[in-house]
């Protein structure tokens, strides 16, 4: 099961949850599972969230694989000028 960590800015949308484990094999399924568990988080997942999988940051990569022992940190999506 992958270890999922919600960065502190996302906690309010997940009832204060900071960490959980999920059986998901890619980002798409991760987002689906999180949306099902935390409906308030769903609107933020598509456009506001990036993921750091085992230390590497990914944005807009729904099919990026997540390993069974991966650590996935949900963070604020990054942009710039």
């Amino acid at each position: 099961m992958a270890r999922i960590v919600l960065a502190s800015n996302l906690n309010p949308f997940a009832g204060g949850t900071t960490e959980l484990t999920l059986e998901v094999d890619d980002v798409y399924r991760l987002f689906q599972a999180l949306a099902a568990r935390f409906p308030a988080l769903e609107p933020h997942l598509e456009h506001e969230v990036a993921v750091a999988i085992d230390g590497e940051i990914y944005q807009d990569v729904l099919f990026q694989p997540i390993g069974p022992d991966s650590e996935v940190i949900l963070i604020q999506k990054i942009a710039g000028g």
């Binding site: 502190s8 456009h47 506001e48 940051i57 999506k77 942009a79 710039g80």
Partner: protein, 762 residues
């Protein structure tokens, strides 16, 4: 799936050199064509009627008299655009909400700032268009307005959006508020951290919104034809995202809009979003004529995005030996008329140069009666960093530590856990600090009223969606079609260098061209310092595909397995003597017969580039303060930054210098001045003072190269970081010169004089 091409160290022939940029001759001779340089036969002039009020309800709009004026061919108002539901999309700085976008381009229920568009006209001449604007009658119910972010947070402040309830607060508020969002980032135990501190410093800083200050005002030319096809020439940072936004707000299919990018006279984050473009298309649709719209400088200031002004409160604690044990910040950022400031990213940048155990950052995104903010180089970061780097300077002074040593003691490095989530990868922050320490600037003598300041900056950098095509022409030259705008930084040269390096051919045999939206797959905007990283990666993929095909053709000619052919210095060669004795074939030789050996040799990359390496920089500045006038003169300035790899060092240096100069202007002079009615009083470069060449010395630069492992040449984005440290570095230098700690921007002569007078009284 994402794409990352890993870094491999190797000897380089073209990458790292300084050839002339492909667009250079056109630019220095004045031949380069920018947005306003395009014209079509029969085109009309489009102008916008703008709100004179900071906040008012629109009771009625009557354009009948304007429509009847001879020479007027079309008028559009809110009724000509579909209302949009809440729907988010990425557009440079975070996300945009189309419900807000459609209201920003043309007011619907209310006007929310001085300059908010209310109607637009297309006429056969500018004078007729201006007369038509005067004939339009708009009835307003003027409402109370709020300009300052601190006022906007008060309970009795006029509320811009009755349907805006603060997100991120539990339980959900029952009263609407100008605070659109509250975010909290952090790690550790902030209270426990402060208990360990021997020294705690708490300060409040206030900054004004500043404009990106691009030289070229927004300009576009739209042609809507009877068959529903649209051509749009416009200067932007991302023609694909502009196409997407126009298609959405006009309810036109994406494939029917072709956006042809022009040369760009600066953007810096301010040209990621639509302003006049949908109005021009709608006017063209209504008039059956091409419509050209060029903003005046006044319109640019009144209606296009500045960056946020902000109130920033920072509290930091450290031990006697200079170890920072707690960092706490509250960032209150103006979003302008619609939610969506850079406060999320600013919150993540506030302390991310340091390896801290206990951090808490609370950010608020706040609507006020000003134009909607847009991205501006490292959106939001310079403001928060102004506060933190000033406090670190004060801590170092109070503890008797060298300011660079204090930073080195706390510096982030590979493996540092950030308070916003991930661990940092390979970074060069410490390298920039060490280079600063060795730099002769640091020991140069200073005179009376002169001082030296240090500050540092961090930016994440991004990759994202990128499409590129490479064609080997029949004479062996190469055309590289890219879809990221060269925002005048010279990225076309860098792409050509990387392709030339891969193919083993001279730089001038590669012609990079920015393709229009019909020529390539989607490309995200040139923002977030992604251009050279992401398109560079795509170009390398294209070149490597082409090399594989060149090897295949040589292998077929020699009747050997393709594995028996290598590509070296622009030639296909037998991999070893075992393959056979063949004369190497040049790219020109293979290309000459390509049409008869399988067709054009090309490479394509449609990727979502990931693995952008963060950037870090350290700045040193010397200033002289005139105690009589309060004027601050920049005597010497040095930028030291990790670039990963400088593909074209001269253009990297240009980015360093440009960012520093923009930061100097932000620090010393720039601010919007609104009167009591909420009208902007300085919408022009005479009264809004950006630095000119005579205001600054030659900016010295030091390129540090710690390769990004996730790019074939080790590239990191470089455009954002150089604007982050200047405000804090200059504030620290002013303190060193005359002993006053500036906590308000701009640090303009009246404010310096006031601070000097206050200090003299104590």
């Amino acid at each position: 799936m994402s794409t990352t091409v890993k870094y491999v160290e190797r000897d380089l022939k073209v990458v790292g050199t300084r050839p002339l940029r492909p667009d250079g001759v056109d630019k220095v001779t004045g031949r380069a064509r920018y947005g306003a340089d395009y014209n079509l036969p029969g085109q009309l002039v489009g102008l916008v009627l703008r709100s004179p009020h900071a906040h008012a309800r629109i009771k009625s709009i009557d354009v009948t008299a304007a429509e009847k004026l001879p020479g007027v061919k079309a008028v559009v108002t809110r009724d000509d655009f579909p209302d949009m539901p809440v729907e988010y999309a990425a557009a440079g700085e975070l996300t945009i909400n189309f419900r807000d976008v459609t209201r920003n381009m043309m007011a619907r229920e209310k006007v929310l700032y001085d300059g908010h568009p209310v109607a637009a006209v297309a006429a056969t001449s500018e004078s007729i268009a201006r007369k038509a604007l005067k004939l339009m009658k708009v009835e307003y119910e003027v409402l109370g307005h709020v300009i300052d972010v601190r006022d906007a947070m008060k309970a009795d402040a006029p509320v811009l959006h009755e349907d805006q309830f603060t997100v991120g607060v539990e339980p959900k508020p029952t009263k609407p508020s100008n605070v659109a969002k509250r975010l909290v980032f952090g790690c550790g135990d902030i209270e426990a951290g402060f208990k360990k501190a021997d020294l705690v410093i708490e300060r409040e800083f206030n900054t004004k919104p500043v404009h990106q200050g691009y030289i070229e005002p927004q300009a576009c030319l739209a042609n809507y034809t009877e068959d529903g096809q649209v051509e749009l020439w416009t200067a932007s940072q991302g023609h694909f995202t502009l196409r997407a936004q126009c298609a959405k707000v006009l309810a036109i299919e994406v494939s029917k809009i072709r956006v042809i990018p022009t040369e760009l006279g600066g953007g810096f984050g301010g040209k990621n979003n639509i302003y006049n473009e949908p109005l021009a298309i709608a006017l063209s649709r209504k008039s059956n004529r091409p419509v050209k719209m060029v903003m005046t400088r006044g319109e640019v200031f009144r209606a296009t995005g500045p960056t946020s002004g902000a109130q920033v409160k920072v509290k930091m604690g450290c031990t006697k030996d200079g170890r920072i044990v707690a960092g706490e910040a509250e960032l209150n950022y103006q979003a302008g008329a619609f939610a969506g400031s850079s406060v999320p990213m600013a919150s993540m940048c506030t302390f991310t140069r340091y390896d801290l155990e206990n951090v808490r950052v609370v950010g608020h995104d706040i609507t006020v009666n000003r134009p909607k903010v847009a991205a501006y180089r490292a959106p939001g970061a310079p403001i928060a960093v102004f506060a933190v780097e000033t406090i670190i300077d004060e801590m170092a002074e109070k503890l008797g530590l060298d300011p660079i040593d204090m930073r080195l003691k706390n510096a982030a490095k590979e493996g540092t856990q950030t308070y916003y989530g991930p661990k940092l990868g390979a970074i060069g922050y410490i390298d920039t600090l060490k280079k600063a320490k060795e730099h002769p600037h640091l020991t140069a003598p200073l005179g009376p009223n002169q001082g030296r300041g240090i500050a540092t900056g961090f930016w994440f950098n991004i990759g994202n969606e990128t499409s590129t095509t490479l064609n080997v022409n029949e004479d062996g030259t190469v055309t590289l079609m890219i879809g990221t705008i060269d925002v005048a930084g010279g990225s076309r040269a860098a792409f050509a260098q990387m392709v030339a390096e891969e193919l083993g051919i001279p730089y001038d045999k590669v012609r990079p061209v920015v393709g229009d939206t019909s020529a390539l797959g989607f490309n995200f905007v040139t923002a977030g310092s992604r251009g050279t990283f992401a398109t560079g990666m795509a170009a390398v993929i294209c070149a490597r595909q082409a090399i594989d095909k060149l090897r295949e053709r040589a292998a077929a000619a020699w009747k050997v397995p393709v594995d028996g052919v290598i590509w070296e210095n622009g030639f296909a060669k037998p991999a070893s003597s075992n393959v056979g004795d063949f004369e190497p074939m040049s790219i020109a030789q293979i290309a000459k017969t390509a049409g008869r050996t399988g067709g054009t040799i090309a490479g394509h990359a449609e990727i979502n580039a990931q693995g952008a390496g963060p950037g870090f920089g350290t700045h040193i500045v010397d200033v002289e303060v005139d105690r009589q006038t309060g004027a601050v003169k920049i005597l010497r300035y040095t930028v030291i930054q990790d670039t990963g790899k400088a593909i074209h060092p001269a253009y990297v240096e240009g980015q360093f210098q440009g960012g520093a100069v923009q930061g100097i202007g932000w620090a010393l002079n720039e601010e919007y001045i609104y009167n009591k009615d909420g009208r902007l009083e300085n919408p022009g470069f005479l009264d809004y003072r950006v630095p000119v060449a005579s205001d600054v010395p030659m900016i010295d630069t030091v390129i540090v190269e710690v390769p990004n492992p996730n790019h074939p040449y080790g590239v990191r984005g470089i455009g954002e970081v150089p604007i982050i440290p200047p405000m804090a570095a200059i504030a620290n230098a002013i303190y060193d010169a005359v002993g006053i700690r500036m906590q308000e921007q701009p640090m303009s002569p009246p404010k310096i004089l006031k601070a000097l007078e206050t200090a003299a009284k104590h």
